[in-house]
């Protein structure tokens, strides 16, 4: 029974199927909104889905310099880990697994898609991919510090005098005390988190790793067909996961009583977060340089998050 339940969680809701469907939907929304902000009509909302299916239908070329196993397994591992993260994030009021330390699990699981991208890119044997993975890794190092600080601040705020790495506790605290975002001491952390989300997903100003014009899509350079489709799906799912994480960390206090309504509200909030932190930044900024990105995250964003952590630590 446990196995069946776990399989349901992993495969359908809130795991693979749910996450990928809404991930693709969010990616579509993102593309549409960016297009509208650039005064274009933009692709239909289903466009990411078309992209994904088209890529499934294409030939997968494995270059002879690549390591076949790592090359093909990397996107799948990224996919599975993303499906798994969703089990730890409260979707509305629903959490598949609730434990006492799942924030750290999320933090680590969320690095796996990045690592999968890096290993996949690295295994393809292309020097462009080499530069790409280097940048991807620096990006990861850059956003990890503010991300950690934000998580700790939230944990401290929600936990009070006791430790609360649990997402469920964060959700419960918010259900009692209102959204985390409306605590003024948490606002810097929320801003920091809003800036962490696009870097994690790898959208426009922070997509140094996959800069298609400079380094030919970096780690993805040798990917084609189904494997590439999986990576594109991963990006879309990351969008959903990261915006979902933001929503459950900072906007988790909205409860209607019905699980279905909560889930719908959750998704709507995800869309809003996506539009604010990904589409808008994408539409109005140009790609950063990698050293600027690192400096930006370790000074400005980390400073914001640290500010919040200190405020929370002072009991505000």
């Amino acid at each position: 029974m446990l196995i069946l339940k776990s399989l349901f969680y992993i495969l359908i809701f809130p795991g693979a199927l749910f996450t990928s469907c809404f991930g693709l939907f969010l990616a579509g929304v993102d593309r549409k909104v960016v297009a509208r902000m650039q005064h274009r009509i933009g692709p239909p909302l289903r466009q990411p889905m078309y992209d994904f299916f088209k890529l499934l239908g294409k030939e997968t070329i494995i270059p002879h310099a690549a390591n076949k196993l790592a090359f093909l397994a990397a996107p799948v591992i990224g996919f599975v880990s993303l499906a798994l993260i969703m089990l730890f994030i409260p979707v509305g009021g629903f959490t598949a697994f609730s434990g006492n330390a799942d924030m750290i699990v999320i933090l680590y699981l969320i690095t796996i898609p990045g690592v999968a991208l890096i290993v996949g890119g690295s295994s393809s044997g292309s020097p462009y991919a080499g530069i790409g993975i280097s940048r991807e890794m620096v990006t990861m190092m850059a956003y990890e510090l503010p991300f950690v600080l934000v998580l700790l601040a939230v944990a401290r705020k929600a936990g009070g005098s006791e430790l609360a790495f649990s997402m469920e506790k964060v959700a419960m605290w918010q259900a009692e005390n209102g959204n985390m975002l409306f605590q003024w001491s948490m606002i810097p952390a929320a801003i920091a988190m809003l800036l962490v989300v696009p870097a994690e997903v790898g959208t426009q100003p922070f997509d140094v790793a996959e800069a298609e014009t400079e380094i030919c899509e970096g780690p993805l350079i040798e990917y084609s067909g189904g494997a590439l489709g999986m990576f594109k799906l991963n990006t879309a799912m990351k969008m959903f996961v990261m915006s979902g994480l933001f929503v459950s960390l900072f906007l988790g206090g909205i409860r209607t009583g019905s699980v279905l309504c909560d889930i719908i509200i959750f998704i709507v909030l995800c869309v809003v977060v996506t539009i604010i932190c990904m589409s808008t930044t994408h539409a109005v900024t140009a790609r950063l340089k990698i050293e600027h990105l690192f400096k930006f995250y370790w000074t400005f964003v980390a400073g914001m998050a640290l500010c919040s952590l200190i405020l929370v630590w002072c009991g505000l």
Binding site: F79, L84, P127, V138, A227
Partner: protein
């Protein structure tokens, strides 16, 4: 019967060392047989202790020559194996046994192997003796034998670049540390007039700390700090791990610095019992945090595979020291678990480094590349090790690191001390940097393009692969079946470290501790409600099914790697903007450019400090010892 096992194991190893020197210096077969026989018997003997010690909770005591305590005074040399000792003993035997198996083929092309195996067995015996002895002076003797054998083994391939130098630095810093330890032991002896740990512990806990004992504590902590290579003492470790034969590097990181960690735990938790003092906790935690940070940042800029691993050893020991410095049950559990995991994954990584060295003849990250096509098995083992050390779920490193974060942050929340929160942040960031430097190795050694001179590389022999497989399997299993590990290894060991009464009573007779007013601390086993291995197993199955479907189901077409000189089908060639395929490997030193430019100033200072001059390192050692002493005196007032 069972109480003879520990001392037999140690004796056998030393006996084996002499026998190898006497009988085996000429004949390879005899030499290998003696070595493996001694190692295997020691392994079996120590594993046989799991049942009584770990599961039944017994403590085994053994008095050399049956010199049992007389009227409350322990005169003889005692061996005492509680769960903590056995925990480390298990690490030690596993490591040296695997290293022995690995050595058989790895060292096969070297000369003077008789000496090698003698030193190897002496090193193993000394570390095993160190973790099982109940006598502080015996501990010192074992430390000295360990240092001695380590130095000799470091300089074993003395025709190679840098080995002598590394050995010399190791010797100077190591014997400085030993001297500190000895001074500390002498001071304790002056206070307590006994060398038995149980008795010292009992006497110190009832008498409180005097300036002499504080001095002794500081010196012994510094001494074991040198052995576990926490930061200002870490400099010889990087050199020694790098140049020693890889089987020995594995022993160094798996056993020798664990011996230092063991010494720290033994001294801080059992002998002096000072871990309830928040200032001491802070001191140790800060040392740990600095260690992990400096270790990992230094590792990020290394160009040598093994030197990089050496700096990671330092960094990971930083985690362990941080965790045990917290003084909480959770902290100790996480520290022990991380020590164990470090033994597993760092041993594994050193073995893969050795395999690379064996197959290609170099470990320079800028000269290697693309080995995954030639050495796929090694690559998989390396990836498992790299993911474990970077703490990716579901490997073991993740669980122990997670415990470390939880322990530090719980400590921060409970004590309200912001420093611990910063330490948590540092630990998390260090974890990412660890990942980064292993990505660097992955790219520079195993992936990317194969240089022309490495085209003929072959996979290493099976005798070298088997230890790697065993360690990889352990890495995965310890991560997935964490509850079992916790129940049978970590919880007893933590319990043993925190509850001293049993330890004292077993050694000195029942009621001895109670008579002196030593009390126990209740330990709750660290548990995670959601950590359900079945879920992870399902996940694994799902991953494999999905990967299988993708790999077999997609219309993938594979380019064949033809013989050199034959033109490739351009369809399967690497995309070089249309150019003909060239050799272009993004090597280790070319990675992480943005990071390095932003940290230029930091690295300039740090590389200046790692000057390679032995007297500089001696100065660090002395200064750090002075700082520890000073802090101890200020805190213990």
């Amino acid at each position: 019967m069972i109480q003879h096992f520990p001392v037999l194991a140690v004796m056998l190893l030393f006996l084996g060392a002499f026998c190898v020197e006497i009988f085996g210096s000429k004949n390879e077969g005899i030499r290998n047989t003696i070595t493996m026989l001694a190692a295997t018997i020691a392994l079996v003997l120590i594993y046989a202790l799991i049942k009584p010690v770990m599961i039944d909770g017994e403590i085994i005591s053994y008095w050399m020559g049956n010199w049992a305590p007389v009227s409350g005074y322990a005169i003889g040399i005692g061996y005492e194996i509680d769960a903590l000792s056995l925990f480390f003993a298990l690490l030690v035997v596993t490591t040296f046994w695997l290293s022995g198996v690995y050595s058989l083929s790895y060292m096969a092309n070297d000369h003077h192997l008789g000496h090698y195996y003698t030193l190897y067995l002496m090193l193993s015996g000394s570390v095993l003796g160190l973790v099982m002895t109940g006598d502080v002076f015996n501990m010192f003797v074992m430390v000295e034998i360990m240092t001695f054998a380590s130095v000799a083994l470091t300089a074993f391939r003395n025709e190679n670049e840098g080995t002598l130098e590394a050995g010399f630095k190791y010797l100077v810093i190591g014997s400085m540390g030993s001297s500190f330890t000895l001074t500390g032991i002498a001071l304790i002896y002056g206070q307590c007039h006994t060398l038995n740990m149980a008795q010292i512990s009992a006497q110190l806990s009832c008498g409180g700390l005097t300036p002499t004992t504080v001095m002794a504590l500081a010196l012994i902590v510094a001494g074991f700090g040198v052995k576990s290579y926490i930061v200002p003492f870490h400099t010889p470790a990087a050199d020694a791990y790098m140049v020693a034969p890889t089987s020995i590097s594995m022993i160094f990181s798996g056993m020798v610095n664990k011996a230092g960690v063991y010494g720290m735990i033994r001294v801080l938790y059992i002998i002096f019992r000072v871990m309830d003092q928040s200032n001491v906790q802070m001191l140790i935690v800060l040392f740990g945090a600095v260690t992990m940070f400096i270790g990992v940042t230094m590792a990020l800029t290394q160009h040598e595979f093994k030197r990089l691993l050496a700096f990671h050893s330092i960094s990971q020991i930083g985690y362990v020291i941080t965790a045990i410095g917290l003084g909480s049950a959770l902290g100790l559990t996480s520290g022990l678990f991380h020590a164990m995991n470090h033994t597993l994954f760092k041993g594994l990584l050193f073995l893969t480094a050795g395999a690379v060295l064996y197959a290609t003849g170099t470990t320079n990250l800028d000269k290697l590349g693309g080995l995954s096509k030639r050495m796929p098995k090694t690559t998989i083992c390396f990836l498992i090790g790299a993911f474990s050390i970077s703490g990716l779920p579901p490997f073991n490193g993740f669980v122990s690191k997670w415990l470390v974060y939880q322990a530090t942050y719980t400590k921060a929340v409970e004590s309200g001390n912001f420093v611990y929160a910063i330490v948590t942040v540092v630990a998390l960031v260090v974890s990412v940097m660890t990942l980064a430097s292993f990505i660097k190795v992955t790219q520079a050694v195993f992936f990317g393009q194969l240089p022309a001179e490495l085209k003929k590389t072959k996979e290493v022999p099976a005798a070298m692969l088997v230890p790697m497989y065993i360690m990889s399997a352990l890495c995965v299993l310890c991560g997935i079946f964490y509850p079992i590990v916790n129940k049978y290894l970590l919880y007893p060991a933590t319990n043993a470290a925190l509850n001293v009464t049993n330890y004292i009573d077993k050694m000195m007779g029942d009621g001895y501790a109670a008579g002196l007013g030593v009390s126990n601390i209740e330990v709750a086993p660290a548990a995670f409600s959601f950590w359900n291995p079945i879920v992870w197993l399902i996940l694994f199955v799902v991953i494999f099914i999905a990967a299988f479907i993708v790999i077999t189901g997609s219309k993938s077409s594979r380019g064949q790697l033809l013989q050199p000189g034959v033109k490739y089908d351009p369809k399967y060639a690497t995309f070089f903007s249309g150019e003909e395929e060239l050799f272009s490997q993004v090597g280790g030193s070319d990675l992480f450019w943005g990071f390095k430019t932003d940290w230029k100033g930091y690295y300039r200072v740090l590389e200046g400090l790692h000057s390679g001059i032995v007297t500089d390192y001696a100065v660090f050692t002395v200064i750090a010892t002075a700082i520890i002493t000073l802090c101890m005196f200020i805190f213990m007032r």
